[in-house]
């Protein structure tokens, strides 16, 4: 009888103590614009394009899961606003004309800026 009263109280105090202990552990907040996470080389960020290597084979277009993300008619272009950064095009490019950068802050005012073209 008494035990059934004391046990819940003990557990409640244990809960309080567990939370209290956490107050003295290391903070985990990363203050974003000032401090940034270190990324390793595998990171899939913004795609860059090397014009010299490209042979316009069209493989990247064929492996891309999206219909109108990569376009090759006369020029090569990637619409980064559609891109899901899956990495299929980069992996399957036979001449290594595409590569990932560590850039991930892609917010822009104008959607046109996100279309990566040959000349820039």
């Amino acid at each position: 009888m008494i035990k059934s009263f004391i046990l819940p109280i003990k557990e409640l105090i244990k809960g309080l103590y567990t939370v209290f202990k956490n107050g003295f552990k290391k903070r985990v907040t990363l203050e974003y614009p000032e401090k940034k996470k270190l990324l390793n080389n595998n990171f899939r960020g913004k795609i860059n394009y090397i014009k010299e290597n490209c042979i316009k084979c069209g493989i990247c277009q064929n492996v891309c899961p999206l219909i109108s993300c990569i376009k090759i008619d006369t020029d090569f272009s990637i619409d980064l606003s559609q891109c899901i950064f899956c990495g299929n095009c980069v992996e399957n490019c036979p001449k290594n004309a595409l590569y990932f950068t560590k850039e991930y802050e892609l917010a822009v005012n104008n959607k046109e800026k996100l279309i990566l073209k040959e000349d820039n």
Partner: protein, 372 residues
């Protein structure tokens, strides 16, 4: 049952935008006072046509999309899909690839369970366990990010193995994590398991008996909390689960609380599996063969295949009907949450409104998986 006149019933809409529906489930709940008379779950707010999308994409093009079926445990969907294709093409992954797949999948299982734990307690009104769970989850996700290049949409598995080799640095980080994970689990237990408020909200609430569980074809932790020992990893071991020593926790209490305990125990077992995989991998770090040499772009499998995997939420099946062309004829996904979400009316009827959240939270339903 007593008949309640229509004017005493209050219909309220819970969702599609609501803090506790874990995404975009809509529930039309009929209340009499605070007692639930009827719940009508309405799904489809996150329907993206992922099954139809497969029909006009090649096998390689569909691969990144597979991760998005269940974005909290992308590896499992990837595995189910690739395993099906591998079966059709008679490819056996190398031993090292199998181990890497296991270790990543078990880590993914922990992240999924941790997110569930945080959200479940958030539903019950406790705020700090959410943060504690996310702190641990963040550690795994950081490791997986460095390994695969992305935080949730991994796209890491490929035909006959994995895309990138696991290096010693990441293995050491995994080891470090799993060594410290026990203290975190202990902390969750200290904070939650004995708490009388938590017990009063979960004990003997939302009972799924064996019969109901079988009728609704519930799988995974929800089923094991009802006392039925069914786990694909033990029943028909895939990958390297044959060589690994682990247990499948089973509880007979059938209530929300046992579903909580089962998931905590499963995380412990996952940690055990991770450590065993680590021990194997650290000895075979020099093995080179991690994927098959077949070009994924040009595969043309033929036949029908069902491939299964024990995902964090239960049995995940991918049924591939290939007709010998570049594109699959039809792909069907059998996702465990879809079956759990149907239970809600059966479980929460005649309980009070706050109990609906604890019951629904304990089922670990995730909407992208339901709607696909």
């Amino acid at each position: 049952m007593e008949v309640i006149s229509q004017d005493r019933i209050l219909d309220i809409n819970i969702g599609p935008q609501h803090p506790s529906t874990h995404g975009v489930l809509r529930m039309v709940v009929s209340l009499c006072g605070e007692t639930i008379i009827n719940i009508n779950p309405i799904i489809g707010y996150l329907h993206r046509g992922l099954e139809k999308m497969a029909e006009n994409r090649t096998y390689l093009q569909y691969l990144p999309i597979v991760d998005r079926i269940d974005y909290l445990s992308g590896f499992f969907c990837s595995y189910a899909y690739l395993n099906g294709i591998e079966k059709l093409l008679n490819i056996t992954p190398s031993e090292k690839a199998k181990y890497i797949r296991t270790i990543t999948m078990e880590m993914n299982r922990i992240t999924s369970h941790l997110l569930w734990l945080g959200c479940f307690l958030m539903d019950l009104g406790a705020s700090s366990p959410f943060f504690y769970a996310f702190i641990e989850r963040e550690k795994i996700i950081d490791i997986l990010e460095d390994l695969t290049g992305s935080r949730m949409m991994y796209n890491y598995y490929t035909l006959g193995g994995v895309k990138r080799d696991i290096d010693i640095d990441i293995l050491n980080r995994i080891k470090e994590f799993s060594d410290h994970f026990e203290t975190a689990l202990k902390e969750y237990e200290d904070l939650i398991e004995g708490n009388p408020i938590f017990l009063s909200r979960t004990k003997n609430i939302g009972l799924i008996n064996k019969e109901t569980a079988n009728q609704y074809s519930i799988t995974g932790a929800n089923l094991r909390a009802s006392g039925i020992k069914k786990d694909l990893r033990k029943d028909s071991p895939y990958l390297i689960y044959n060589n690994i020593d682990f247990e499948v926790p089973v509880l007979n209490n059938e209530d929300s609380f046992s579903r909580f305990v089962i998931r905590i125990k499963e995380m412990r077992e996952s940690k055990k599996i991770i450590l065993q995989c680590y021990n194997w991998l650290i000895n075979h770090i020099k093995d080179e063969e991690i994927k098959s040499n077949i070009n994924f772009m040009h595969i043309k499998p033929e036949g029908k295949v069902i491939s299964e995997v024990e995902s964090p939420r239960g049995l995940l099946q991918c049924i591939i009907h290939a007709d010998g062309t570049k594109k699959p004829y039809r792909i069907k996904w059998r996702t465990p949450s879809f079956y759990s979400v149907q239970l809600i009316n059966n479980l929460a009827k005649n309980y009070k409104l706050p109990d609906l959240m604890s019951i629904f939270g304990s089922l670990d339903v995730i909407m992208p998986e339901v709607d696909r």
